[in-house]
């Protein structure tokens, strides 16, 4: 194995571009690993962990670009490192960025701009956001790792000036029918949604679309907005806006459970809203609140969709009426060819919220599961790389994405994990999620399909059967096409269910049946 690196002084490229280039390099013959990123302390820490020395890393500053490669031969290594300019060529059709160097210059080019979308490294994001707010722009901050005190200062500043800060760590919004960040192409309609999680918003908006309704606005508020430190500043701003928005007839609110102080402050305000509000605090309990036709609570995202769609259409969408009995038939069919040693389910998630929701569904069914991101009452995996018993793993968590692409962009790590799980003869089921839409991988199912076939083949050889269940979050309007992605999975013998919650219920039911328990999975 041969390792080497190149540092280019004062050269910046955005993180998504760099991930894509690193992926292309990794796919070359003889390349074991390739990372391409800016020389921040965190990134240098990652390179130190994989064996680069302090002396090699010392010259790199946060404003410098690093390409680090492990290759099978010194010749391949040299060739890759020498071709830095070639790798960094813009992709065909990507266009070239106009040479706009400052926010003020950008504003002279687009004087009616009303939103700054910020996705620079977290270290710089608050500074850029403050400058945008000072110029009267609303702000969408995709970046994470923004200090909580900076987030609070930005949100308070915005509130005083009639602006909103969506984020930090905001993956998705749909504003006036336009998808921002990782968003799907959905119909416009009367359902408004406010969400602390990007994948949660994606799932909700796609399911509302599948149910025949549509989205007025989807407003991301960032993962920490409902914490006690933030108190739901952006949530309240969004709620007030949607209450007055003529297009919005009902409002859904998706988040992990708020902090206790934030909740006691927010709940009375939510209860006062003059439009029906569906609240889904994933992983939490239902809040004690007076029965009220305007305040409804859901345990899962698909339940929140059903309530919201019923609020605007008067009845539940037909596809939402399938029962535990329907799933049971599917589970029994999948179990038929399994051998007695197969007992456990392994979830390998791209969407952190889906991992979280699946854990809740397992808990509600009386099943304990291990996770690298356990919810209250679950067990932490001592080694995130090594599953135990039932394991539900968030592959988008920091330990998997430091220095490596997020699974929504590149499935390599999920592919490797799937093949590793297939070596464990005690595994009975694999639970997967796929996310389509703007900015996601061009063919997420295609990247995993060969590994699914290989994993299923391993079990067949051993005289068993591997059940693979998946959900695909997307629509036929998305660049990747839901219909084609689902068809590809079904061709590999995957059970494809219409929501992440339903796929998790299937997996929980499989686990219960293998344990000989009751199929009480709702």
């Amino acid at each position: 194995m041969h390792k080497g690196m190149v540092i280019r002084k004062n050269e910046y490229h955005d993180s998504v571009f760099l991930m894509r280039v690193a992926k292309r390099i990794s796919e070359q013959e003889g390349i074991l690993q390739a990372v391409l990123f800016m020389g921040t302390e965190k990134n240098k820490g990652f390179l130190a962990e994989i064996g680069f020395t302090a002396g090699e890393l010392a010259p790199a500053s946060p404003g410098d670009l690093i390409l680090a490669v492990e290759a099978t031969t010194p010749e391949i290594l040299t060739d890759v490192l020498k071709n830095m300019d070639g790798w960094l060529q813009p992709e065909p059709g990507s266009g070239t960025a106009a040479a706009v160097r400052s926010l003020d210059e950008a504003l002279t080019r687009l004087p009616r701009a009303n939103l700054a979308v910020i996705s620079v490294p977290g270290f710089y994001a608050a500074r850029e956001a403050q400058q945008a707010l000072e110029r009267g722009l609303n702000v969408f901050i995709f970046s994470d790792n923004v200090p909580v005190e900076s987030e609070r200062a930005l949100k308070e500043y915005a509130r005083e000036r009639g602006l909103i800060v969506m984020g930090p760590d905001c993956g998705t919004a749909i504003i006036g029918g336009i998808g921002i960040g990782f968003a799907n192409v959905v119909r416009r309609g009367p359902v408004g949604v406010i969400g602390a999680s990007g994948t949660g918003i994606q799932e909700f908006t796609c399911l509302v679309h599948q149910a025949g309704s549509g989205i007025s606005q989807a407003i991301g508020i960032g993962s920490r907005d409902l914490s006690d430190e933030l108190g739901g500043i952006s949530l309240l701003c969004a709620l007030e806006a949607l209450e007055k928005d003529n297009r919005t007839e009902t409002i859904a609110l998706l988040s992990k459970p708020p902090g206790p102080l934030a909740l006691s402050n927010l709940l009375p305000k939510i209860l006062q809203c003059q439009k029906p509000v569906v609240v889904c605090f994933l992983g939490g309990k239902k809040e004690p609140a007076p029965p009220d036709r305007l305040f409804q609570q859901a345990r899962t995202i698909d339940e929140a969709v059903a309530l919201a769609v019923r609020n605007v259409q008067g009845q539940l969408p037909p596809d939402f009426s399938s029962t535990a009995g329907d799933l049971e038939v599917l589970v029994s069919r999948e179990r038929r060819a399994m051998n007695p040693s197969q007992r456990y389910v392994r979830g390998i998630f791209a969407g952190g919220t889906f991992c979280y929701q699946a854990q809740q569904i397992f808990n509600d069914a009386g099943l304990a599961a291990y996770s690298n991101a356990p919810i209250a009452g679950n067990l932490r995996l001592s080694d995130p790389l090594q599953s135990k018993e039932h394991s539900l793993v968030d592959m988008g968590a920091d330990e998997f994405t430091a220095g490596r692409p997020h699974p929504m962009i590149d499935s390599r790590q999920r592919r490797e994990r799937l093949l590793a799980e297939a070596k464990d003869p005690m595994v009975a089921g694999i639970l997967l999620d796929f996310l389509l839409g703007f900015n996601s991988a061009a063919d997420p199912v295609g990247e995993l399909a060969p590994a699914i076939a290989e994993a299923k083949g391993e079990f067949k050889k051993r005289g068993g059967f591997l059940s693979v269940v998946a959900s695909v979050c997307g629509t036929d309007g998305d660049p990747q096409s839901l219909c084609e992605q689902v068809a590809r999975l079904e061709a590999e013998g995957v059970v494809v269910l219409p929501s992440s919650a339903r796929a998790a219920r299937f997996a929980a039911m499989l686990a219960l049946q293998l344990k000989g328990g009751l199929s009480d999975v709702r």
Binding site: N10, Y12, D14, V16, F17, M38, G39, T40, S61, P62, G63, S94, A97, A99, V100, R101, S102, L103, A106, L107, R109, L110, R112, A113, N114, L115, A116, V117, I118, S119, V120, F123, Y124, R127, E128, A132, G136, L137, N138, F142, S143, R159, R161, G162, L163, I164, I175, G176, G177, I178, G179, I180, Q217, C237, E240, A241, K244, D245, F438, N439
Partner: protein, 57 residues
């Protein structure tokens, strides 16, 4: 309710994109007016120099 946020919801976004260029490209595909800022880390990423520059400007 806030005017500028209300305007954004009613009129739809016109965007200044600071960072990931794919975000700008996918907004343009949807017919949105976007200006991409050719962003580089201020002061080469040197925090002290950045603070100093902010004070001067």
């Amino acid at each position: 309710m806030s005017d500028k946020f209300k305007e954004l919801l009613e009129q739809g976004p016109q965007v200044i994109n600071i960072g990931v260029q794919d975000f700008a490209a996918n907004l343009q595909i949807q017919g949105v007016k976007v200006v991409q800022l050719n962003w580089v880390p201020p002061a080469g990423g040197d925090r002290e120099m950045m603070d100093l520059l902010d004070q001067l400007l």
